[in-house]
Assembly symmetry: D2
Homo-oligomer: 241 residues x 4
């Protein structure tokens, strides 16, 4: 059965920066969608859409939400973030890309600053698989390279991932936990590092494979949200003095 | 060297409820302090103190903060919560007790609803050690019992603990992850389940041992907060086409 | 595409004990196979088969191996255990049931004693889901009950699971980590507690659902085994003094 | 109270290789001992000692065992490995250094091949702290460098560490999980990558700090070994039909 995948893109760089527009003429979201090798119905949503494109109807039907944002994290309305947060806890998968590490939704789900070191200097990046059994690593070699990328370096202020899938090597001397899996409530969250807007990263075959794998991994499990609150005993409770 | 331990107590039940006042005449915070078997300077802070007792000066010197709250989580000011959050990321230990699972600070650090099942019915609780190598389990037997406690039951909506130390059995048929360790930034967080205000839980020798162990475990590690942001390369970066 | 599932059963109790024979007339392996709701080709293998039924040809084609053993762990030949171990590292999934906690293969993969508390006294068991987002919990309620089972209690001497899915409550006062996920090399391992031979546990709809889910979860990821050993540099290494 | 630390060294390279002898004239074990900044009684044990220096009496009193081996892993007797294994499960800390990744004891505790990529080519190594809250990272900067080391690269075939403290960057393009914490039974295990015999790594101030921190972290927790086996019920068990 087809998954409902919503790709959220800030979509500002593409409109204002010629370099970015040349690489992603239809927007980063379109390039991500083009690369999805998943049986999926794709919906686009961007910052400047009504309710950022994330209406109740869209969120309700979304199985997996992909998130790319960078310069306008603060323009994302808190009430929309709260709704996305609730949907993740109820089971929607969330894939946070690159500079989305500083998005409101990722910081809210992580509980940390999500800060890191960065550098825009055409570093070569080599992404190593450290968990070869993980479904997000399916079909990849032992590593893959991106000839030029923005560097992100440790310390990356995140909770220790439930599962660490990738670690990146950077030409300038840094390392980074590049593929991090989390569970939050009924939902799964995957952070994937690559994807600076001035590079054609989302056309890379390996990057596309990772995102496709991640969508499948993050798809909701078929089960009800737990019941919380006051609970009747399931066994007799003895009288106490 | 003595640790600076601040015990934060909502301190409302003790003033309004005769049962609670009879059990904790000087407040829950005093009973916790009395039970600390740690070389520590203890500071008390309560909701109704100026800035909830958590001034910049108090927070700055605090090595480990213990948190008990229940009926007035919403009265804790967001700006104080933000300061406590920053202090945890900078290295302050945080021990969250019982109904503190629903405190603003715990929810902010966890990123989930922190919801659970509960019942006030004099359940017997048996707290089992599932990680005997953990320093928070030092000096305990294989389990300890609390003759009457409020029940908390799964599902407990928290991120999977970095380390799970205790699992509770309840008379009414439930289980609960009762001792959960987390790292957030430079800081350590421990959630410990027992401690409903209508029971003398904080006089229990095992509960006191756990809290004392947790204070030592959560004490800050001596190191600087990481540097984040734009970073110069540590190695030469080749010219790219 | 159909998975190749091999069900290994010690198959001794069924031959010697009338109670067990009455419950599992065709063997525990047959009852497990009957309950599999997976697109799978099933192969049976038992202790008394040539090479315990685990020839190179069988192991090589097996995607997921299910293991039930109890009284004759020591009769399993070390060379067969070594082969199963290698196959797990190369990617074969392994599901270890109940008393298989003491099998040579599980102990070898865990590195611990895998010891536990036990009792044959018709305890009621209630298996709670503690990770509702996990695919092994798909389709289950918040808990399920087994009216009579052997008790297994903490401390269970295993490495902390990579993912903990179930925790059991027992009538006699114990708790147990009942559903534990591990990764070993390219392979995935799931330990699932229920299944004492004198109870009809493998006819239970929830138990069957868990085993079916686990088979799908443990299926190998499509990728090559990593290359180990002497490695040429991928980047130039500077001359050192 | 002083810890009893036993440093086990294969002690073969120092006797046969002039380069190594020049760097470690008294043996690698002596250099490690010299660098320990811990209140400790140190015992040396080497492969060619009676029972490899690991008699019952020595093992029984040892709080933390440090292990360095390389070319003669196979000469370590299985019965000694079994005793060390039992002592770890009973609470003794174990620190495995560098090529000890292939020691019998480490492989037995991990359950995997513990294989990796390697290269002897004077790579520069930069060890990054990825868990700044961890006591093993106390007193370190954000990273430290070793000007020349043997390279170890991913995939490193170990179970996912319970806590990952360090990730190394290598000049030749690889990354490696260099500081890995595990719990096994009542015991703690730390694997630390650096320390090839042809480099003066164990004189490095940061390396010494890490080993000292690890000894303190791995020291046994004061508690009894759990009781396993047949267990009487702690609560009444109802009659079943």
């Amino acid at each position: 059965m087809a998954l409902n995948v919503t790709i959220w893109n800030e979509h500002r760089h593409e409109k204002k920066n010629e370099t970015v527009a040349a690489i992603y003429p239809k927007g980063i979201h379109a390039a991500i969608a083009e690369g999805l090798d998943v049986d999926a119905e794709v919906t686009f949503a961007t910052l400047d859409d009504e309710e950022h494109g994330l209406t109740d109807a869209v969120l309700e039907k979304t199985d997996v939400l992909i998130w790319w944002g960078h310069v306008a994290h603060n323009e994302v309305k808190d009430e929309i973030v709260a709704k996305v947060h609730q949907r993740v806890l109820k089971g929607m998968g969330l894939i946070v890309l690159h500079s989305g590490h500083f998005s409101k939704i990722f910081k809210k789900l992580m509980g940390t600053s999500c800060d890191l070191k960065w550098r825009e200097a055409d570093d070569k990046e080599r992404v190593w698989v450290v968990n070869p059994a993980h479904p997000i690593a399916a079909g990849l070699g032992e590593y893959f390279e991106l000839p030029k990328e923005e560097m992100y370096g440790e310390h990356f202020d995140i909770p220790a991932p439930d599962e660490l899938v990738f670690v990146s090597w950077f030409e300038g001397g840094e390392v980074f936990r590049s593929g991090c899996c989390y569970t939050r409530g009924n939902g799964k969250v995957f952070y994937f590092r690559p994807g600076h807007e001035t590079y054609p990263t989302y056309y890379d075959a390996n990057v596309r494979k990772v995102i496709s794998n991640a969508v499948k991994w993050a798809a909701p499990v078929d089960r009800a949200y737990p019941t919380y609150g006051n609970a009747k005993p399931l066994e007799p409770i003895s009288e106490k003095a």
